[in-house]
Symmetry: C2
Subunit: 427 residues, 2 copies
């Protein structure tokens, strides 16, 4: 089975090594022998760590995508262009494609899936979400008949590392980010990770597969972690919660036609929840199904080798299907009907700095009440002449909570409305 | 797609309900429509909770297995006979079979897989291990190219429930067992669960798929939990461990020819290990792979609905393959070369009651030293005129530790050698 590789960075390089070191094992288990016949790279001179025959490396990615000496194409360039054109060309040439490209899938997944279906070949992308964790295949195949109500994911290792350091060492956001950057866990411009763009693309892909209707990156409500303070995390800990950047996908009914809500934001998760113990750069996805109950899939969400492992699993599947003349089932997925964030109902954590004077608490509480937000617990801490009020609400509607925040800003005694965090996995 | 169901207990009944309630969803996602045309049961009069046409229910399981009006057979009778004969008959008649029968697979898996291959049909059994958790498919497909070194599983909910109660409430084994029985989590005769037979069958199936060589139930070294005391659990907790009944499968190299060790026994697991927080009747399997690193798959390991969810996933896969004229990859798996338990190397926990007299500790320590067992930590607790010595060893070989136990029994000052627990996931 001849493989054409587009891009040879950390994941591509690891894949080359795996195909070399595990060749015998793959043949024994699957009856397949892979040969990497073309590799499109930017730098022809760089050592790839394995012997490649003369002429395998090339600058010409477009030629690799449609090369007659390539049976299966692996796209590991990332980003939407030129990946989109290359993947389209490969599929159109009747070649199965394996990719780990979350941006591509979260923006052009339907177009590419339709193209794959039209040409009767596979488009597989396990590595796009959760690195090495078997996630999309179990969702797509093992749970094909399952009515899934909710998927909660820790799908970005950088932010989980930062929040874990803040939790375990009381570090500030800036300190934890700097540490993540010095260790190579965060990029120089960390926006894609810390502002939730990476997690939002993954949330879109998860929701699409879990619910059978197409969710795109732009459909996902998104907040990052840059506003989370050491104080929020300390208070959360005291109240029995940890703060995690969660990708949350919910369906009203779990069927293809049902409206879905998909969002990425920092959330307070009860310490007793299995997701609470997912620390450092690990990823995990927690699934709530009608029949199967609660599932969690946990592992290394990034890194060359774990992601290459996922690519290899897909490659074997694609090659097996190509040989058998079949493809993985590709259901038609209608465009999802999205529930706007305003209609979300969950619990909330909110802190408010007020003047420490008689009557202020009553005025604050009245704003909650006027907006139909019921308070589950409140605590007050002194802050010099001021006081900080910390609220956890009962389940309330997002629009009502936002109206509460607006109302609080209008009170003269309120000096600052601090963090608003959604509580997930509680009531 | 016409389904013949053999057995209609908790899982079969749940499957009937799922096929009914999720019919639309299955058609939308997979383009398949299932009809249950025959159901073999013992009691024709019992209400199955869904409408079945006249003549669907029958006593004649053999007729269902080969009925021309049945495309796929689901075997949920359990046990080795008559299940073995029925599954063989169905496969020989060219019908794919889905089963959740761990005893059958752990004893006759190879014979039945070969039969399935010979007839070009699927034999799928996701529900046999870990109930609803997608486990065998990810191992078989997602990790098809992965060199797996170790699989650690909590695969028996009954014993995990008992040990969790002992840990969380200081209950004795007898109390926790009685509670599990009163809640229906343990059977009247709990032997299969508490003595590790159930876990050993599952360990054999996991090892077979993870390492690509056939391990049978009888190959698995097995100890149950009935000798674990509340005191062991209390001491373990003080030392930073929890006690779990683990299924452990290890391979020297991860390839099909490599020797494998497979064992089921109570083990001390560090509290920081992801398996330590798997509580109550939940199951989880922790996988250590060369490229993928650490993975954990967690969920409901038993129960009608979770298991039916796994059966349904297999049923959809089998039906899809039947329609496409293909089958799931079925590698040839040679008989495994087993590493005897004597050659196991791990850490050990051991307690010894001795006379509290000068020179006794030296004599005890000498027995360890003579047998090449290095002590990592020791603590002594008073017991009236006696003392209890609690040891954690460095990594040592099982045969040396067993020789140490024999040597200790021969010391006059040793009154009792208590529990010997292996420590897993530590050094």
């Amino acid at each position: 089975m001849r493989v054409g590789l587009l891009g040879c960075g950390a994941v591509g390089g690891a894949l080359l090594k795996l195909l070399h070191s595990d060749a015998e094992l793959i043949t024994a288990r699957c009856g397949l022998r892979f040969e990497v016949t073309r590799v499109a790279v930017r730098n022809l001179a760089k050592d790839r760590g394995v012997d490649l025959a003369e002429g395998v490396l090339t600058h010409d990615a477009a030629a690799v995508a449609t090369d007659p000496d390539v049976d299966v194409v692996v796209e590991l360039i990332g980003g939407t262009e030129p990946a989109r054109g290359l993947v389209s060309a490969a599929l159109s040439a009747g070649k199965p494609v394996v990719t780990g490209n979350k941006e591509l899938l979260a923006n052009f997944g339907r177009e590419l899936s339709d193209l794959a279906s039209a040409h009767g070949v596979d488009l597989l992308y396990e590595a796009a979400v959760g690195g090495g964790i078997p996630l999309l295949r179990p969702l797509r195949e093992s749970l094909a008949g399952e009515r899934i109500h909710r998927v909660l994911g820790i799908v970005n290792g950088t932010t989980n590392y930062i929040l874990s350091r803040m939790t375990e060492e009381g570090a500030s956001y800036a300190e934890a980010l700097a540490e993540a950057q010095s260790l190579g866990y965060a990029e120089g411009d960390p926006t894609a990770d810390v502002e939730g763009f990476d997690a939002a693309a993954k949330a879109a892909i998860l929701a699409t597969i879990a619910f059978g209707s197409e969710v795109m990156a732009g459909d996902v409500y998104r907040e990052g972690i840059s506003a989370v303070t050491a104080d929020d995390i300390e208070v959360a800990g005291r109240l029995g919660y940890v703060v995690k950047l969660l990708a949350v996908a919910e369906s009203e009914g779990g069927t293809a036609g049902a409206a879905v809500g998909v969002r990425v934001h920092p959330a307070m998760v009860p310490k007793s929840h299995p997701l609470a113990s997912v620390r450092g750069s690990f990823n995990a996805v927690f699934i709530e199904g009608e029949a199967v109950g609660e599932l969690m899939l946990y592992g290394r969400g990034a890194g060359g080798m774990p992601s290459a492992s996922a690519v290899l699993g897909d490659l074997i599947d694609a090659a097996h299907n190509l040989r058998a003349g079949s493809t993985s089932p590709t259901p038609h997925r209608p465009r999802a009907v999205m529930v706007p964030i305003d209609e979300l109902t969950t619990q909330y954590y909110l802190n408010v700095d007020v003047l420490d004077r008689p009557g202020v608490l009553a005025a604050v509480a009245e704003v909650f009440g006027e907006n139909r937000v019921s308070i589950r617990s409140m605590e007050q801490a002194g802050l010099g002449d001021d006081a900080r009020l910390i609220f956890i609400t009962h389940t309330a509607q997002e629009s009502d909570v936002q109206a509460t925040v607006t109302g609080l800003h209008q009170l003269g005694a309120v000096k600052r409305v601090g963090s608003l965090l959604r509580v997930v996995g509680g009531e």
